[in-house]
Subunit: 482 residues, 2 copies
């Protein structure tokens, strides 16, 4: 058994920080007298007390950084422990929320999925609505840091490809992660502020604009009303689509741009592939809407732009129930939810670089069949890609679909019908938000599912967010032997 | 451009043989006076004339065997050209059959899929029903030969793993294929005869038993009535399940057994994995039926045994509409249709050995993350497996799911709803037979779909049967440059 203290220490500190932020919604509830009561203060104290004790009890470790096992464990445990405490305000405060509901909502928040079990959102205290937005906002920046500082080192799902960015962290994970987190946080904050300003300029009230800007930049998708984005038709949809697209790009490129060089962003192969995919899909749906549904030009374009961007980026806002557009958009939206944005952004799902590598690899296979004795080195973005990266990406893809199948079967065993089970598993694993069908589709919510189904979906959201491998590796006996 | 003549020659001969067999249903229609008329004779003459001319025109080639390109082209062209002619009797003879319907039915037959566009099957002339069974029977033995003689040499989808059986054929494809076909055909005939006898012993009339034995051993699934296997409840279900399982095992093992050694069959890792999977699934569904549906012991077991075996082997008979069993069996049946039987059997789909290799590979990946500098050779069935086999299997898996997604999207564009589009794409690509939902589910058929959807599904059945790569490689420009 290896030393758990460095992991406990960091998680303890994270919990203290999380607890501290709970005073913000507490303050909001007090100032606006919206009836949130003292639940945030109680939750904050429990969280800080627990986190503080944990950090103190683990502080004795002398190791300067984390080893491989510790890095894995920290990655997975932080994403599991934080929702446990982030759910407290829901459990203690939201009307009739069971702990299952509270935990589901917290996981959906922290993983930036955006599925909700609550209905009549507009009746919730402002503090609770703010907390939902804050959780997604924390989750969004958290995953960028994990994706840049941890996953490449852990060689998870082909993420070692992004190791060449100069973030080799093993043995010195913490200082490095801190430095990365610093630059990223400034960008993240600036983008959120810009989004808040833009939402305000197009007429969204301050509180809605605040929460929406946090859940937009996090590609999370929590909104303050059951109607999601339908309440903000028109210009706000353009603003939202723009910022969802910006949030889908690798944040390291913004850091480089901030340091004076826009070239890396403009020449990023992942960025290009993502934007081309997005434009192609938006135009396809626009033309389909005009031809098949008789939709008008601007509205057809705007609704396509907004909803395609929302699903492709895994945000999960809905401005309309696109299930009424006909079978083609339904099936296409299901598929494009499995694509996702760029690695190093706040997006989840399979991600565009893995598709690029898959196509490169398939092309290579075919070349190899043509000329069995030829040597073909795969190249991505101008640089050679090792066999280990390709097979790691393929293993990710395979595991994603095996997990999707398995979770669908388990959900069906819990009584969910085919569409609800399969789309529920997909939306959770890819951290999108809405599923398909009348119950969990864009016009429904997850509140009516059984407790067991909510736990299964919570687990699916977590393993999806942590790129599967990082979680599954903890279940192998070899891991614990060190 | 390379020499097409050896390919034309073999296809010509195959067409002559196909045409010759059309005289059998013609004889049946004449002897039993079932109203088939002369359509089979006309079709036979067209087919023989065309095939004969093609063979004669191509006979001049001096090359002793096939090169790589020719072997690919022959594999794909034979599976495309034969249905074109096999469809003639339906087009000319079946009431109101469009050419689309006739071609769909022929492709569904030859690929041993078993989806049908015809309803009121019991009103069709006996010759036509017999022809449906014969097509599947030819398709079944054809795919065993292709899987043993061609695919390993072509290194398609990990099939090179089965090259070690001693069938290295490149440059001498034809004589070797002939020899293999000889041994296999005897086994195939013997199994069919045994199945016919067994069906007769449990009370199925001769004509039904004949057609069913052909479509059972081919894991094809065409039946003589719209009720599929529901007409033969009881003992025949046990007989059918037994022979579907036998037909799902690698036929080379039967050849070895015939030569005196049962060891290879008993120790085949693929056979064990398949049987364990089948037993686990049958017991799971049996217990589910007893607990959730209140089904009785023997009937619950028998219906589970029959329907699980039918879908897992890709046969596609249905004895009941298992969609009424609840969401768990529906989702599970969808997934297990994507598993399939053993390589070298008449089964299609992803196949059990690919799942074995995927698990081996994922285990390896995880080991490699644990110990980045360790060397781990993958082993399958006690022998080392090269990286090329693993990546070929992964590429197959990836392409299977990309094709599934793409075909689903195209079908949805043609107006099929989510369940029909996704399950239709899956059942065609995996060559199973029934889809899900009210239209193409086990209680429906494919006749009501649009012509465009039928063509897309026909294409999907073909690329599924030919293990995707073999078809897709023809679409690469490099292939035609030689």
């Amino acid at each position: 058994m290896f030393d758990l203290r460095p992991v406990g220490y960091v998680i303890g500190l994270l919990l203290v920080a999380l607890g501290a932020t709970m005073f913000i919604p507490w303050g909001v509830d007090i100032i606006w007298e919206t009836g949130g009561g003292g639940t945030f203060a109680v939750s904050a104290m429990i969280t800080i007390l627990f986190g503080g004790s944990m950090a103190l009890a683990s502080a004795n470790s002398r190791s300067p950084g984390l080893n491989l096992q510790q890095a894995f464990l920290l990655t997975v445990m932080s994403w599991t422990a934080l929702p446990v405490f982030a759910s407290l305000p829901f459990w203690l405060g939201a009307p009739n929320a069971s702990y299952t509901d509270a935990f589901f909502e917290a996981v959906s928040g922290m993983t930036t999925t955006g599925s909700t079990v609550f209905s009549n959102l507009e009746d919730l205290p402002l503090g609770t609505l703010l907390w939902r937005g804050m959780m997604q906002w924390f989750g969004g920046v958290g995953i960028i840091v994990v994706a840049m500082a941890f996953l490449p080192t852990l060689k998870v799902g082909g993420m070692q490809l992004f190791r060449s960015e100069g973030f080799d962290t093993l043995g010195k994970v913490l200082p490095r992660a801190g430095e990365i987190a610093g630059s990223i946080s400034i960008i993240y904050l600036a983008l959120t502020a810009a989004c808040l300003l833009a939402y305000s300029l197009v007429g969204i009230g301050f509180f809605d604009a605040l929460v929406l800007s946090m859940t937009t930049i996090a590609t999370g998708g929590f909104a303050n009303t059951d109607a999601s984005f339908a309440a903000f038709s028109g210009l706000p949809e353009y603003v939202s689509a723009l910022f969802m697209l910006l949030a889908s790009l690798p944040f390291i490129r913004y850091v480089q741009m901030m340091r004076g060089s826009a070239q890396p962003l403009l020449h990023d192969s992942q960025v290009r592939a993502f934007l081309i995919t997005a434009v192609a899909l938006i135009l396809t749906i626009t033309f389909y809407r005009m031809l098949a549904n008789g939709a008008h030009g601007e509205a057809a374009f705007r609704e396509s732009l907004f909803n395609v961007t929302s699903i492709l980026s895994g945000t999960g806002y809905a401005s309309v129930d696109y299930q009424l557009w006909g079978p083609f958009p339904v099936v296409l939206f299901f598929m494009l939810g499995l694509v996702g944005g760029c690695a190093g952004s706040t997006c989840c799902s399979i991600k565009i670089f893995r598709f690029q590598l898959l196509f490169i690899s398939i092309k290579q296979q075919i070349k190899r069949i043509h000329s069995p004795h030829g040597v073909f080195g795969a190249r991505y973005a101008g640089r050679p890609v090792g066999e280990d990266v390709i097979s790691s990406v393929m293993a990710f893809f395979v595991m994603f679909f095996l997990s999707l199948g398995l979770i669908s079967v388990v959900l069906s065993l819990l009584g969910l019908d085919f569409i609800t089970a399969v789309s529920g598993a997909a939306t959770a694993l890819a951290n999108i938000g809405p599923g398909l069908g009348p119950e969990i589709g864009p016009a429904g919510n997850f509140g009516g599912l059984s407790d067991a189904a909510k736990w299964v979906l919570s687990f699916a959201m977590l393993i999806g967010r942590l790129e599967l491998v990082a979680v599954l590796i903890l279940f192998t006996p070899g891991f614990w032997r060190g």
